[in-house]
């Protein structure tokens, strides 16, 4: 379960002064459902996820992840989440097993259990055949599988996906989406951040459209299309963010 109330984040930039990256976002995500965050590049989606994963602190508002406050109970929040993005790299000079064991230790999984969990995730994602090769030598698909295994190693109840298919080919993207669908059926709370409409339509139960750090609209995909009298989510999205043909958005 995730609940945010007026969550905001301002950065101070030397040239631009105060920049509001996220402004007063109030949202909730429930177990067994996928909340989609849809927005252009730089809309504030990643900043929102970074606040929820406690690596940056909000300048206003509050949020609870799995019942824990993101500011006062940050360690418990981090223990409850799994975070995955395509930009997240692996340690090139470690093997997949070593990466998994490392993160297992950081997540405080005790040794006999850790061994079982590592074996389970390796089998689940077919990592065994290249488990002892260095991550630097793996293909993009193999790396992505190790990344997914790392994300769910500690079996977190909440999962964040930040543009997880960006830069992946069709087959690999399919793999990732199937995994997201699977964790949904396991009753986990999922926040899925993307700018790819087809992924949102396929995966998300609710969608929040973020533009310039503000949630411009929120609802089920069908509701958004209906509300903005659009045949597709893409059309609805463009209307929400105020796109006009020939006029650039700021």
């Amino acid at each position: 379960m995730i609940e945010t109330h007026g969550l905001s984040k301002e950065f101070v930039d030397g040239k631009r002064g105060k920049v509001a990256a996220v402004q007063s976002v109030t949202l909730s995500a429930t177990p067994g459902r996928i909340l989609g965050l849809l927005g252009r590049n730089g809309a504030g989606k990643s900043t929102f996820l970074r606040m929820l994963s406690t690596v940056i602190k909000p300048t206003a508002g509050s949020a609870k992840v799995n019942g824990f406050d993101i500011v006062t109970q940050s360690e418990q929040v981090r223990a409850s989440i799994g975070f995955m993005s395509t930009s997240t790299a692996l340690y090139g000079r470690l093997t997949p097993v070593e990466v998994l064991e490392y993160f297992g230790a950081l997540y405080g999984i005790p040794q006999p259990e850790l061994k079982n969990r590592v074996e389970y995730v390796m089998k689940r994602f077919g990592i065994e055949s290249y488990a002892d090769g260095l991550c630097d030598k793996l293909s993009t698909g193999q790396k992505q599988r190790v990344n997914i295994a790392r994300t769910i190693l500690h079996d977190p109840p909440v999962l964040f996906f930040d543009e997880p298919t960006s830069g992946l080919d069709v087959v690999m993207s399919q793999d990732v989406m199937e995994f997201v669908e699977e964790v949904k059926t396991q009753g986990k709370t999922v926040v899925y951040c993307t700018h790819i409409m087809s992924e949102v339509e396929r995966l998300c139960d609710e969608v929040a459209v973020i533009h310039d750090g503000i949630v411009c609209d929120f609802g089920m995909v069908s509701a958004l299309k209906e509300r903005h009298q659009s045949n597709s989510l893409e059309q609805a999205f463009l209307k929400i963010v105020g796109y006009q043909r020939g006029v650039s958005l700021k």
Partner: protein, 399 residues
């Protein structure tokens, strides 16, 4: 504690699998120290060789005094070659074929018999260092011949021949420290240990935090429930281990250099390397906070830098803070500063000086205590700065 250990183990594994890091920690210190030793030996041997210099003499010796001078030169391992005229000698010098040409002139014997002094002419190129060495050698030889002539005159006049040098100095060596170590080692060891304690960790430092930012592994690490303090401490321990291994490699190379039959080593290492148990303990006590200071400094720079390139730029600048006092430590024994109290308050220099004194078996308790306490305080300050930097959002957002 488990998390600190996990980070430490991961970093050590990462370091050991990186050729660049292995080179900076083991290969670099070992070979640079070993080569430095070999070079010192070769230079020492060639200086000795330079002592067996060739001196040209104009014409054949014409009297007893001339012969005495030539014989004294030959005894002093000087090769004597004859040149026909002064002009021919000058030409040899201009052509670079002679270092020094000695012209006895005429009347040396007669002047002496008449109770008069005489002057020899030594022709040389003042811009040539080897000629300067030859000149000082020949002046020593002439000095000895003068002494012999004076002794004869004194004996002839029934005077004590010791009056040739009415006042002389007897060298009495007083043992100050509990050990005696070769001078060259006393100068080199502190310098090499300090330099490599820093450089051993330097190449790893640019990778340890800023490298994680660049490769985008830091965010995943920070999203784990482990506290940033634990992550920092794990990385600090790995850096300290790298600094220690580099120091050890330099030390092993140093010992290998003293044991192997390299040219010129025998003369260079007269006195050998002798460190007492107390000396070794003092060295260890001084080195630990020094390594902790370097590791904390390196971690702070790496946490602050946006990427490895920026980290390398800052580290290159920071290295001057270490190199300058370390270089000064090589000559500190030649100055009064070697025993001055203020040296104990200068970071790095104080450690090098304490190491130097420990090698000599001299222990300045107050100085050692100040060095250790200052090292601990400064490393704690650098660590606090590193942890603060690591706790800031900018560690992720400043990219």
């Amino acid at each position: 504690m488990n998390a600190i250990l996990a980070v430490f183990k991961k970093e050590v594994r990462d370091i050991l699998r990186d050729k660049r890091s292995r080179s900076a920690m083991v290969v670099g210190p070992f070979f640079s120290v070993f080569l430095m030793f070999a070079l010192f030996g070769i230079i020492g041997a060639s200086v000795k060789k330079a002592a067996t210099t060739t001196i040209h003499v104009v014409g054949k010796p014409q009297g007893k005094i001339d012969e005495a001078i030539v014989n004294a030169m030959k005894k002093g391992e000087i090769k004597v070659e004859e040149v026909a005229t002064v002009e021919a000698g000058e030409k040899l010098i201009k052509d670079g074929k002679a270092r020094l040409v000695l012209d006895f002139g005429t009347g040396l014997e007669q002047n002496l018999a008449a109770g008069k002094g005489s002057t020899l002419k030594a022709l040389f190129d003042p811009g040539e260092q080897k000629a300067q060495i030859a000149l000082s050698v020949i002046e020593t030889v002439i000095g000895k011949v003068n002494d012999g002539v004076l002794e004869q005159l004194l004996t002839k006049n029934n005077l004590d021949k010791s009056l040739v040098r009415p006042i002389s100095v007897e060298r009495v060596k007083v043992k100050v420290g509990e050990t005696s170590t070769a001078e060259v080692l006393v100068q080199l060891i502190p310098y090499l240990i300090i330099i490599w304690a820093f450089y051993g960790g330097m190449s790893i430092a640019s990778d340890i935090v800023s490298g994680e930012k660049e490769r985008q592994t830091l965010e995943t690490l920070l999203i784990s429930p482990t506290s940033r303090l634990n992550i920092c401490l794990g990385k600090l321990l790995a850096l300290a281990a790298a600094c220690s291994v580099a120091t050890l490699s330099a030390f092993i190379a140093l010992i290998a250099g003293t044991k192997l039959p390299l040219p010129g080593m025998e003369r260079l290492l007269e006195g050998g390397l002798q460190v007492s148990a107390t000396g070794a303990l003092v060295m260890l006590l001084v080195l630990l906070p020094t390594i902790a200071l370097f590791a904390s400094m390196l971690l702070a720079v790496s946490a602050f830098a946006k990427n490895t390139r920026e980290a390398q730029t800052y580290l290159a600048q920071a290295s001057f803070v270490v190199v300058l006092p370390a270089v000064f430590s090589q000559v500190i024994g030649l100055t009064d500063a070697g025993s001055a109290r203020w040296v104990s308050f200068v970071p790095v220099l104080n450690s090098a000086n304490a190491l130097r004194q420990a090698l000599l078996g001299k222990y300045d308790g107050v100085g050692i205590a100040i060095t250790i306490v200052l090292g601990i305080v400064l490393s704690a300050a650098a660590l606090v700065y590193a942890i603060r930097t690591f706790n800031k959002e900018e560690v992720l957002t400043r990219i």
